[in-house]
């Protein structure tokens, strides 16, 4: 059972990673003069969009979303609406945090918000897919023994890696190297993406490595 789940997770993660790759390559065909640095926002939106779509599709197909008590249409609709609201709120939250970290407040607000959208896609959207719009569960997952399934553990790892990646991405900004990727927010969004990819790669490996120690309480 373990191996099946881990293998499933690895393939799901491979699909998501491939989607990031495609999102980087595809616009080059469609958009003129596309480059990750030059037309950074286009790249950012294409990555965010494709990761969002692939994530939702994968988790819906795998059926990992939390069990629903009611199966009515209105309940599903309200859940969907709540999820959208949560996603928007998390974008605003990330925006605030980034500004507090020292991003310019007024100028290049669009860039900052785009980075917040990217981070929300990497973190909040996955939380929504795995746990549903349930903040209590989110808080629970991010504690040492809060993970209740392999997917929770993978969520911990990918979320942590994305955020640490974005954090590390801020480091080169003050350096006087005058490189195109030091422009705000290129290094941060690249850092977040690289971190997310690392998390996708690391999660199945880590879980496999520690599968003896990992015990999940059944709900």
């Amino acid at each position: 059972m373990w191996d099946v789940e881990i293998r499933g997770m690895a393939s799901a993660h491979a699909i998501i990673a491939a989607s990031i790759f495609m999102a980087t390559v595809m616009p080059a065909v469609l958009v003129e003069k596309f480059s990750v640095y030059g037309t950074h926002l286009i790249w950012l939106y294409s990555v965010a969009g494709s990761v969002a779509v692939v994530n939702i599709a994968v988790f819906w197909l795998l059926g990992i979303s939390p069990p629903t008590k009611k199966n009515t249409l209105s309940y599903k609709l309200s859940k969907l609406i709540r999820s959208c609201v949560y996603l928007l709120l998390s974008c605003l939250f990330f925006h605030t945090v980034i500004v507090l970290y020292g991003a310019p407040l007024l100028e290049s607000a669009l860039e900052t918000f785009s980075l917040a959208v990217l981070l929300s896609t990497f973190t909040t959207l996955r939380c929504l897919c795995v746990l549903g719009p349930n903040v209590q569960a989110w808080i629970r997952v991010f504690s040492r023994d809060g993970a209740m399934s392999v997917w929770d553990t993978s969520l911990q790892i990918t979320t942590g890696c994305s955020i640490v990646g974005a954090w590390l991405g801020a480091f080169p900004i003050p350096l006087d190297w005058d490189r195109p990727w030091q422009v705000w927010p290129v290094s941060c969004s690249l850092g977040a993406t690289v971190g997310f990819l690392t998390g996708l790669l690391a999660a199945p490996l880590w879980i496999r490595w520690h599968r003896k120690q990992l015990t999940y309480k059944l709900k």
């Binding site: 020292g102 991010f142 504690s143 040492r144 809060g146 954090w167 801020a170 003050p174 350096l175 006087d176």
Partner: protein, 1071 residues
């Protein structure tokens, strides 16, 4: 409490850090050897010993007399005139005379850009353009105490040649050249606020002097422009007025000039857009140089390539040769060729031709180079021999051309110029001499000191019990003595540096050896220390040092977010799920009651919010380095007197006043809340009266200093009196407060109701005569807890607010719970007010933020330690790394957020004039005031450091009330800081651990900046970024450690006083 071992250990750690810094700085900061030789007339004999031409000094010079007008900080922009500029700014187009003369009489006058060498401070510049040498970094520090110039210089040479030098103006000259002037009229220079005294003094005297015949060289140094820049900045109406005045001065001097007189008008340095100087940006180095003579001096403009920029050192040989004196011995300047006639034109009746002047100059520079290289070995041998061979070549060419009688070819002139330039460049490059051995020794001592500090902080309990210090110090001293003896034996003298270095090293190694068997301490790097590591490595890159304020804030922000995330990861932040009913209750991990977790979690999040807000707001108080191109310094940094818009000024004033009163109010509120204002001791008097009074004085002082100078003419005397009196009164009050605080730090009010007390049956009257005949000391140990029990009772019943009528406690002790922290907080509050007085008024907001942030850190620490109290296994009082790192990084953060920067031009010199608007006579007081101003945040956070230990205990009230409702037993009740007295051993070790951790964090930062300076010592930015950073970091460490010791000493003072109080109380209560 073990006072002596703690103090001894801390002193030892501090002193080994000091030794390390001393060793390193001794090897790192550059020293240029001064050549104490002087040129004589015989040195400049023309080639071939042509006796017929006679002694150089006896020949008729080109000019008999010279007038040198030095206008301090006359930037090159000020001197330019642009007729097309219709709306000039305050400093533009205000000196039209220079341009008029240069264009209407091109053969008589020239205007050049005059480039100074850094450091661009006035004294260094005066030395530079009189000796012609290049200054070194170490000179910067001498600006307060100018000492006489010992090197050969123009003033000396002029005196030797019998010229009568008359000086008037800036009194720095008189201290630099004591007894060298024929006549001197010095005026005080240090008072930056005074725009007119020096200039008016010169104006009264210069024209009568010029018309008289008692002078040959007249030097006048005007300070008004510089002071105006410092006070108002260049773009201010006062600057226009000042420059127009200077224009008039120059005109009048030109009108009175005779044909045999040379006029030199020059600035010694420029200024930045804010009116400061000292660094090496072009704005600071580029001054103006204007030369004028009544008779034709320059060749026709097109005949020769004009230098665009004249280095400042070049003035020295030029002036010397024009006036017919030898070039000063150690000058490395090059004569300004346009001032000398062409070789082939024999029109000029007197004076040297270009080639002759250059030859004399080349010979002099070569002679200096030979002398210098024989004294010191810092000029690389290969470049030296290269220069030597070039000189030999030049010399033979020149001599052959002279013997042929033909004028030297232009190529020869060009190659002589090239030789002089390359000598200058070589000197500039190599007067950076390090002593690698001393640097390495300093690094080693400091690195080991950091390790020792870390190890001892982890082992503080063991260290205190065993006392590790005695043996190592003794052996260290023995070895140090042996080294000193060896030095005397071998060399005949003692170099103290090496002896103390050896002592420090030996003691460190011995201590590490002694604790090696306890090496359980090599744990994994905890994340708060990772933040410290990042901070330290950021000091190794110039970009990060330049944007240091933001980097520190970024790291602090990360650490602040880390704390709740970590707690949540450990499952402690939110109430856990209801316990599993299937497990037996014995196996359940102990957990805090639900309400406590909720409340503490909420408190934690609130303090995180406040902290984040403070961090973000503090970013708006930063100043700007010159390297940060598009940066605007904070508007709050401008002193109110420089804010021109009156509404803005009023707004700033009100904001500052509000923050000041909030600061005083919060302090008062806290003390009252914990019942510290009830007794009648002097400290309470301090808190109740002295503190508000001092704040009122400060508010009034700000109001007075903000009034524009000319608005209340009739009250001018009163205003100037108030400017002296108000800050002095505030200083006096605060000083008195500190003294009283030290004399009697207790703020405990005891109220005994023993006779009336119907003693509660639950508490039997304590039996003071122990049955066994043990010593009184042991008896006392037995008794003190009993007293606590009773005090505890009273606290329990009425808190500190007072006793309930039915409870009737035996002893009511107001403020006993905060007996340690109240004096510390009072000390911080008073120090904070005093330091605020030294800052620009707008910084009151930043100081308020500092208070709020400190409180938020304390509460964050309290909540997180309460939440994780069940998990920690170590000492109950021990303070974990995260809050200590937060606390000490906040010191760096607020260093920047109070408008300071680790660069010399950004030092706020205005602090020296608070309360002393007339300037100072000595140097100690202004230096102290400026130091206090610069390291204000370091001082406050260092003094307040022990609060981290006390705060969780102070906030215990909240915790226990809820705990009792959840069923806590009575024995574990509100004792607050009395817990510390119940566990003196743990108290001592926790205090030691806290201070060692704080010292470790500060020391690690110094170590990192020392490493940066050592590794990057040939970096382009070393003198601009790393060396100043090292100086500031090292001085910050010294100041921090001293004030940390002050804080610890106050805690011990309180401890002694509390012990005394109980001694006094017990007998009285027993009968």
């Amino acid at each position: 409490m073990r006072r002596l071992p703690i103090l001894a250990l801390l002193l030892w750690i501090c002193s080994i850090f000091y030794v390390g810094i001393y060793l390193f700085v001794g090897g790192f900061l550059l020293v240029r050897l001064e050549v104490n030789r002087t040129s004589t007339c015989a040195d400049v004999l023309p080639p071939g010993a042509d006796v017929a031409r006679g002694d150089f000094c006896l020949k008729e010079p080109r000019f008999r007399r010279a007038v040198v007008l030095i206008i301090d900080a006359l930037k090159s922009d000020f001197a330019r005139y642009d007729p097309e500029n219709t709306s000039p700014r305050a400093f533009e187009n205000k000196l039209p005379v220079l341009d008029e003369m240069a264009s209407s009489r091109p053969s008589q006058s020239r205007l050049y850009t005059f480039r100074a060498d850094p450091p661009t401070t006035t004294m260094q510049r005066i030395k530079g353009f009189t000796t012609g040498s290049l200054p070194t970094f170490i000179d910067v520090g001498n600006n307060f105490a100018s000492s006489a110039v010992l090197e050969d210089n123009l003033v000396h040479q002029l005196g030797q040649a019998g010229k009568r030098v008359v000086f008037m103006g800036d009194d720095t000259w008189v201290s630099l050249f004591p007894r060298k002037f024929h006549r001197s009229l010095p005026f005080p220079s240090f008072n930056v606020k005074d725009l007119h005294t020096v200039d008016n003094g010169i104006l009264q005297n210069i024209f009568p002097t010029m018309e008289g015949d008692d002078w040959d060289v007249l030097i006048a140094h005007f300070l008004g422009v510089d002071h105006c820049g410092h006070r108002f900045g260049p773009d201010h109406p006062a600057m226009a007025e000042k420059l127009t005045q200077m224009d008039g001065v120059i005109r009048s001097v030109i009108n009175r000039l005779q044909n045999d007189t040379l006029l030199v008008v020059m600035g010694d340095h420029g200024m930045t857009d804010t009116g400061d100087h000292g660094g090496e940006s072009l704005k600071e180095t580029d001054a103006a140089l204007f030369l004028y003579s009544g008779s034709p001096l320059f060749p026709a403009p097109s005949s020769q390539v004009e230098p665009e920029v004249v280095p400042q050192t070049d003035l020295v040989p030029t002036l010397a040769l024009l006036l017919g004196v030898p070039i000063p011995y150690s000058s490395v300047g090059q004569v300004l060729l346009p001032l000398f006639p062409h070789n082939n034109s024999r029109a000029a009746p007197t004076g040297l031709s270009q080639a002759e002047a250059l030859w004399i100059n080349v010979k002099q520079v070569n002679r200096f180079l030979e002398t210098y290289s024989s004294m010191a070995k810092d000029i690389p041998a290969d470049s030296l021999s290269h220069l030597q061979s070039r000189f030999t070549q030049l010399s033979s060419q020149y001599l052959s051309s002279v013997s042929k009688g033909a004028p030297p070819s232009p190529e020869l002139v060009a190659s002589m110029q090239a030789y002089l330039s390359s000598v200058r460049e070589t000197c500039r490059a190599s007067w950076a001499r390090f002593s690698p051995v001393k640097m390495a020794a300093g690094l080693l001592v400091m690195g080991l000191a950091c390790v020792v500090c870390y190890v001892l902080s982890e082992l503080s309990l063991v260290v205190l019990q065993e006392g590790v210090l005695k043996m190592p110090v003794v052996s260290g001293l023995v070895v140090g003595g042996a080294v000193a003896a060896g030095q005397i034996f071998m060399w005949g003298f003692v170099e103290v540096l090496w002896c103390v270095g050896v002592v420090a090293l030996i003691t460190e190694v011995m201590v590490l050896w002694r604790v090696r068997r306890l090496s359980l301490w090599l744990s994994l790097l905890p994340p708060p220390l990772l933040i410290l590591l990042l901070r330290c490595s950021s000091l190794l890159s110039d970009s990060y040092v330049i944007s240091e304020g933001r980097v520190v804030t970024f790291l602090l922000f990360t650490l602040v977010l880390y704390v709740p995330l970590r707690l949540n990861w450990d499952g402690l932040l939110v109430p856990g799920p209801p316990p599993d009913t299937q497990k037996p209750p014995g196996l359940l991990p102990p957990s805090l009651p639900l309400s406590t977790v909720r409340r503490e979690g909420a408190a934690l999040l609130v303090s995180v919010g406040v902290l984040v807000g403070c961090l973000y707001l503090s970013l708006s108080f930063h100043s700007c380095r010159e390297e940060q191109g598009s940066c605007q310094p904070s508007a709050f940094l401008t002193p109110l007197s420089r804010v021109q818009d009156s509404r803005m000024r009023n707004l700033h004033y009100v904001l500052s006043l509000v923050s000041l009163s909030a600061w005083a109010f919060l302090l008062h509120r806290w003390l009252r809340h914990y019942g510290n204002l009830n007794c009648t001791s002097v400290t309470v008097f301090t808190a109740r009266f002295l503190l508000p009074l001092a704040s009122i004085c400060m508010g009034l002082h700000w109001a007075v200093s903000a009034t524009p100078e000319d608005s209340f003419r009739n009250l001018a005397e009163l205003i100037s009196l108030a400017q002296v009196a108000l800050p002095r009164v505030a200083f006096g009050l605060l000083g008195l407060g500190l003294l009283l605080l030290w004399l009697d730090p207790l703020t405990v009010f005891l109220k005994t109701r023993a006779p009336l007390n119907s003693r509660a049956p639950s508490m039997p009257p304590p039996r003071y005569r122990a049955s066994t005949g043990i010593s009184p000391q042991a008896e006392l140990h037995h008794l003190i807890p009993q007293l606590y029990q009773r005090i505890r009772r009273s606290l329990e019943d009425g808190g500190s607010e007072g006793a309930e009528a039915d409870g009737r406690p035996a002893v009511e002790a107001y403020g006993l719970g905060t007996v340690y922290s109240a004096p510390l907080i009072l000390l911080c509050g008073m120090l904070g007010l005093g330091l605020l007085l030294l800052h620009p008024e707008g910084m009151a907001l930043s100081f308020l933020l500092m208070l709020l942030q400190a409180a938020a850190v304390l509460h964050l620490h309290t909540s997180s330690s309460t939440l994780s109290s069940l998990q920690s296994h170590s000492n109950v009082f021990s303070v974990p790394w995260a809050p200590v790192v937060l606390w000490s990084l906040a010191a760096s953060q607020f260093f920047h957020a109070t408008g300071h920067l680790p660069t010399f031009p950004s030092i706020q010199w205005g602090a020296a004039f608070v309360g002393f608007p007339q300037g100072h006579s000595g140097t100690v007081l202004p230096a102290t005031l400026v130091t206090l101003n610069t390291f204000a945040s370091h001082i406050l956070f260092a003094v307040g450091c022990p609060l981290l230990l006390f705060w969780p205990l102070v906030c215990e009230v909240r915790g226990t009330r809820a705990g009792r409702s959840g069923g806590g037993d009575d024995g574990e009740d509100v004792v607050m800081e009395m817990r510390l007295r119940e566990n003196p051993q743990q108290f001592s070790s926790a205090l030691l651990q806290l201070t060692l951790r704080y010292l470790f964090i500060c020391g690690a930062q110094v170590f990192a900046s020392v490493c940066a300076a050592a590794i990057l010592r040939r970096h382009l930015m070393v003198w601009k970024v790393f060396a100043p950073k090292l100086m500031f970091e090292a001085s910050g460490f010294i100041v921090s450690s001293v004030f940390l010791l002050v804080g610890v000493a106050l805690v011990m003072r309180v401890d002694v006083a509390v012990a005394g109080l109980f001694q006094k109380l017990l007998p009285q209560n027993s009968r």
